[in-house]
Subunit: 304 residues, 2 copies
């Protein structure tokens, strides 16, 4: 059976489940032990947030979730680096890239105000809105995910066998970006032309479209600024690529693959616009953290 995304029929937000087997039998979370249900090829369809990782944060409407691997279950501490190739982590990255809805289940968690006192509670559908590499409190490399709760849950539910009712299908697409005044001004300055490929998406009647792209992402935990030195005017394709880590910006403002760091293009700037290099470095750091060994040897070198 193909992996099932969405809320199963008969399950509602807030519903309680006795244990992991109950979740499994209700099609809410298939694995009996793993916190993430998913694979790289199919994406991840559900996660359990249950306090296994000291770095997890539950803010109700959004979560900062730590991937799996390298964790000592007895102490909740990291004892090794995580990898984005571990199946659950790779699955969540696929769900991020593809925009798949992820069922979130809260388990007992001593530090969370949202956790049930016992058993598990279905918290509804979330989407992965940000993914990056970080250092855990213990200094190891961890894969981090921000998940935001989807609004209008009832409408977003994917029914498994039935044809969706078109009367209740929303248009699902909210591509057009809600802009700040800063972003509108910048886009007008560039005549809605992408600073990478110089495309302006044509609308009707002489209108054109571009997007204001924040280099260091807005919102927790990144807290990038809605300022000109953190903004680019990009076409939707290059904006997507920037947000997915399909490209990074080097300090000379050329554009490179995040994997090879080989430049393939460059940003075109007007003379009255520039990016702050710390924003560029922050964005690059989301995908290209140096391995732990490098950092250790750097510190040792500094000490010696």
């Amino acid at each position: 059976m193909a992996r099932f995304f969405g809320t199963p029929d008969g399950v509602h937000v807030g519903q309680l489940f006795i244990n992991r087997r109950d979740l499994h039998e209700s099609f809410v979370h298939a694995p009996l032990q793993a916190g993430i249900s998913g694979t790289r090829a199919e994406g991840a369809d559900s996660i359990v947030v249950s306090g296994g990782y000291a770095d997890d944060e539950d803010h109700g409407d959004y979560l900062i979730y730590t991937g799996h691997g390298g964790n000592d279950s007895a102490t909740r501490r990291q004892i090794a680096d995580q990898s984005i190739e571990a199946p659950g982590n790779a699955g969540l990255i696929t769900s991020f890239v593809q925009g798949f809805p992820v069922r979130v289940i809260r388990g007992p968690h001593r530090d969370s105000a949202y956790a049930p006192t016992s058993g598990y509670v279905y918290a509804g559908l979330f989407t992965v809105t940000s993914q990056w590499m970080d250092r855990s409190a213990d200094g190891f490399l961890i894969a981090r995910f921000r998940l935001d709760r989807l609004p209008e849950q009832a409408r977003l539910v994917t029914r498994m066998p039935a044809e969706p009712d078109p009367a209740f299908a929303t248009s699902t697409v909210t591509r057009r970006i809600r802009d700040s005044a800063m972003s509108r001004e910048l886009k007008a300055m560039y005549g809605h032309r992408c600073q990478i490929c110089e495309t302006a998406i044509p609308g009707r009647d002489g209108r054109s479209y571009a997007e204001g792209a924040h280099v260091r992402p807005l919102g927790r935990p990144h807290l990038g600024g809605d300022k000109r030195e953190n903004l680019l005017c990009l076409c939707p394709n290059h904006h997507t690529q920037l947000d997915l880590g399909g490209l990074v910006i080097l300090n000379d403002l050329s554009i490179a693959s995040a994997t090879t760091l080989v430049p393939f293009s460059e940003l075109k700037f007007r003379s009255d616009h520039q990016l702050a290099i710390d924003n560029v470095e922050y964005h690059r750091g989301l995908w290209t953290r140096p391995p732990r060994s490098t950092i250790i040897s750097t510190s040792l070198h500094a000490i010696s």
Copy 2:
């Protein structure tokens, strides 16, 4: 002063205003008579929904709103065609293309359950999610807009002078499309390559991104189907262009400018995928309705 988008400081959703002057002085809706505040160059920042047009529909979380022009205020009937060049209509189209938030104010309206019994009520920020040309009940050409209420209003408010607090700024961008199983399947079939330009947006680690684009839009009032014969696999740039009427599909499945209907590209199909021609014609009809005179002479011709 530049046009102001968003909710003014000190104004809250549900707030009552005595009359149009009160709205004007509270920076909620500047014009004292016109229903739409806006221009083509700047976009529209607010509208009043007050039952002036027989074809308006208020569904609470979304509205079907008729543009201005050609209306007889005594009878509420259309007596002439509307034009997308009228300033308010052109302003709303700009807000559609640019994704600007539009303040919605409800005035007295005898047919609406959401209207106040007297005075005006601020209904919050909406975005224009669809725009098309239609025939009014009286047979004249009208500009139609669907506006959807934005979720999480408090976070979306644009503060006029102050710097936005990055801790409260959400990431604002929800570009990634929430897919149906149908759409996921189609995108996988095309290897996430756009059916127009064959681009696949690269993510990290060998992943790629495309979007499932509905030709006849989902949701009211269009009610397009979430079916393979209504879906294309497109890159974000071409999806945007399709949604904005920057391109139309001709019946031979070539891609043309909506203005000139001159083909500039064509859709590439796999042998097991095709579009229903009525969906293609519906999409084209959103932007290219024949003028009224053509229709009349056609009917006369048919009769004679």
